[in-house]
């Protein structure tokens, strides 16, 4: 085991290989307050990448309902119960990562789902956290009873468990964008990656007898476009880009701004120690205790910032940039009325109004001598 720096848990952590960061790191930010689980992302991915034999129940992108849903069934509970209760000290994780909790004969602590666990892509959909009593109504944040949707792809981790676990080095992380790929000609279907990935985003194809995973839509990313699951999101809850380490964070990079400067988008299960690159804006109606075990100790601050977004011009500007373009934004600018996004060459690719123009019409239409009704 080597020691590598993991900024998400604020300390050095164990990994199989030395620290070797890519030039740029692929990342997605999701605003969980806006996801409605329409599964357009899942289908956009499926029709693009996994329509073949052996991929029928394979969802490189899936959306599950929390707290009870999951694909494969119980992926999170499976590994969390093995890891056991762990603690944070402030923003530094004082517990064990999955590499640190590994048995002496293993590279990583793992949970191997059962066969049937892969057969229910959306089991637990819309299940709420508890019983709804008669007369219950929603009065405050967080809600007493809650649920939320969690869209997930491969996190193209900085310290991928799949890559570390593969005994054949059939998995590699691209230097240019940090995308993690399984070499389809080199894999021998041992499924060590399926065991090791705590997020269960390596999947076995029974038709080809080798494992597959999300490819980060690298052909699109190479052309400066965001992945299919991002550009097809009808709720505009996602933005894709490149995230820096905190020491190299640029304030004008939309990803760095939301992740590092505002700390409103948080990595999921950072305590696993993989430095995953899916970042979530936590849903403000959910019990912070649940969100903390999932997104770490900065949850309540992030929820507070989100609730205050209406009074926060720059943050609001960033939130309207999410879902406003298919092009990867490398920088942004905000003025009184608009948020502007720029590509790698510095060319403006999007200009989005921070507040949509509002027109208030009179109740009475004098020309037609008619009263305008509020019904659609």
């Amino acid at each position: 085991m080597r020691k590598v720096y993991n900024w998400q848990i604020g300390r050095n952590a164990s990994y199989i290989f030395p620290e070797n960061r890519p030039k740029k790191q692929w990342a997605i930010i999701f605003d969980l307050n806006k996801c409605i689980s329409c599964q357009t992302c899942s289908l956009a991915c499926k029709t693009t990448w996994t329509s073949g034999k052996g991929q029928e129940y394979m969802f490189w992108n899936n959306v599950e309902s929390k707290p009870y849903g999951g694909y494969p069934v119980g992926w999170d509970l499976g590994i969390l119960s093995k890891l056991g209760p762990q603690a944070w000290k402030g923003n530094k994780y004082s517990g064990k990562t999955l590499f640190e909790a590994a048995d002496k004969d293993e590279k990583i602590l793992y949970h191997l789902p059962e066969d049937a666990d892969w057969s229910y892509p959306n089991l637990g959909e819309d299940e709420v956290s508890g019983m709804v009593n008669q007369g219950d109504w929603i009065a405050t944040y967080p809600h007493r009873i809650w649920m939320f949707y969690l869209p997930r792809t491969c996190a193209h981790c900085t310290y991928p468990a799949c890559l570390a676990a593969c005994p054949r080095k059939a998995i590699y992380k691209r230097e240019e964008d940090g995308i993690v790929l399984i070499d389809q000609s080199r894999c021998r279907g041992y499924r060590e990656c399926v065991r090791a990935c705590p997020y269960k985003k390596s999947m076995f194809n029974v038709e080809t007898r080798v494992s597959e995973k999300c490819i980060g839509c690298y052909p699109k990313v190479e052309k400066g476009e965001m992945p299919q699951c991002v550009t097809n999101c009808i709720g505009k809850i996602r933005i894709h880009g490149f995230v820096s380490t905190p020491d190299k964070a640029r304030k004008d990079n939309p990803m760095d701004y939301l992740i590092h400067y505002r700390k409103i988008a948080l990595p999921y299960y950072p305590q696993f120690g993989l430095e995953p690159n899916l970042y979530y804006i936590p849903p403000i109606h959910v019990a912070p205790s649940f969100l903390e075990q999932m997104f770490g100790p900065q949850v309540e601050k992030a929820m507070g910032s989100y609730i205050n977004a209406r009074n926060d011009h720059e943050l609001q500007a960033l939130l309207v940039l999410i879902g406003s373009t298919e092009k990867i934004l490398h920088s942004f600018k905000v003025d009184d009325e608009y948020a502007y996004g720029y590509d790698e060459a510095g060319k403006e690719v999007v200009k989005a109004p921070i507040t949509e123009p509002k027109i208030v019409r009179d109740y009475h239409d004098g020309k037609l001598n008619a009263y305008r009704q509020n019904t659609p």
Binding site: S51, G52, K53, Q184, E192, V194
Partner: protein
């Protein structure tokens, strides 16, 4: 460390003079010469009745991570005959579960014979080493079932699974753009990448070479035939190969000579796969009578 202590204990046994004959056999097997057509020998041929079965202890693979904490198969019995043209190995071991069915989380029962491509210098017994390759004959229960019942696929693994349409795979001609099989297989990544595991094969024994752990590579040859049967909690697996073959990277056998050999067995029901396996404690040797 564990390997060293094992060898030390082994040495104590060997020099103590109280070694049982069958224990000593793990160091040297004999391939008996028989006047029969070994190229056509079967799993239950008469010839096996008069050939001693030599007990070979196996232990958990302990050199590279991940290591199995315990293995399902701890001994294998080895028989071997040759006729000057062909050599046959018959392995039997106890395994209470037959794991030959392909599924997402099913692991196949399997067994492998390993030989150095060249004896001198002798490669490390565990998967060989750089510039000192080993030749591996690898039988997998999945492949036996493929041969008996047709190549296993998603249809055999999950018969009740439904899919409306596979890309370009129209049920009727003329309903869409006709594509060649190769064009359709772009959507089946392992096949598009020509991964040998993704295609049916003539033989149930795969031939591979390796120059160290993690370097296992399928050889594009099928010189070894085989047969396998699981019955009453026991696997019997047969490997048959000509003594010599036209391939520089293959092991060559010669009457009267001794060749190092190692064995590995995987118990699929125990989730054994890859390095999670039971292996010979060191190189054994096989002498061709």
């Amino acid at each position: 460390m564990r390997a060293k202590s094992f060898l030390f204990i082994l040495a104590c046994f060997l020099f103590s003079g109280t070694v049982y004959a069958e224990e000593a056999a793990f160091v040297e097997f004999t391939s008996y010469h028989r006047d029969t057509d070994v190229g056509r020998v079967g799993l239950d041929s008469e010839v096996w009745k008069n050939v001693p079965a030599m007990r070979h202890p196996l232990q958990r693979q302990f050199l590279v991570l991940p290591k199995p904490s315990e293995v399902g198969v701890k001994e294998v019995f080895v028989q071997s005959v040759h006729d000057g043209k062909y050599i046959a190995f018959r392995l039997t071991w106890k395994d209470s579960t037959e794991n030959d069915t392909l599924k997402i989380t099913n692991f196949s029962d399997a067994a492998a014979l390993e030989f150095p491509v060249r004896k001198d210098p002798l490669p490390k017994y565990f998967m060989g080493e750089m510039q000192k390759p080993v030749h591996i004959l690898y039988w997998k229960a999945w492949r036996s079932r493929d041969q008996e019942k047709g190549f296993q696929s998603v249809k055999t693994a999950y018969p009740n699974m439904t899919s409306d349409l596979y890309t370009f795979d129209y049920s009727e001609k003329g309903r869409g753009t006709e594509k060649t099989q190769e064009e359709k297989e772009i959507f089946i990544p392992g096949r598009a990448a020509k991964n040998p595991l993704s295609f049916p094969h003539k033989e149930i024994v795969e031939e591979l070479s390796a120059e160290g752990p993690g370097t296992l590579t399928t050889k594009n040859i099928e010189n070894t035939s085989g047969a396998a049967q699981w019955k009453d909690g026991e696997w019997t697996v047969l490997f048959v190969r000509p003594l010599t073959v036209d391939d520089a990277g293959s092991v060559q056998f010669k009457t009267g000579e001794t060749i190092p050999m190692a064995i590995a067995v995987w118990e699929g029901g125990h989730l054994e796969v890859g390095s999670r396996k039971a292996v010979s404690p060191a190189w054994a040797e096989i002498r061709l009578e």
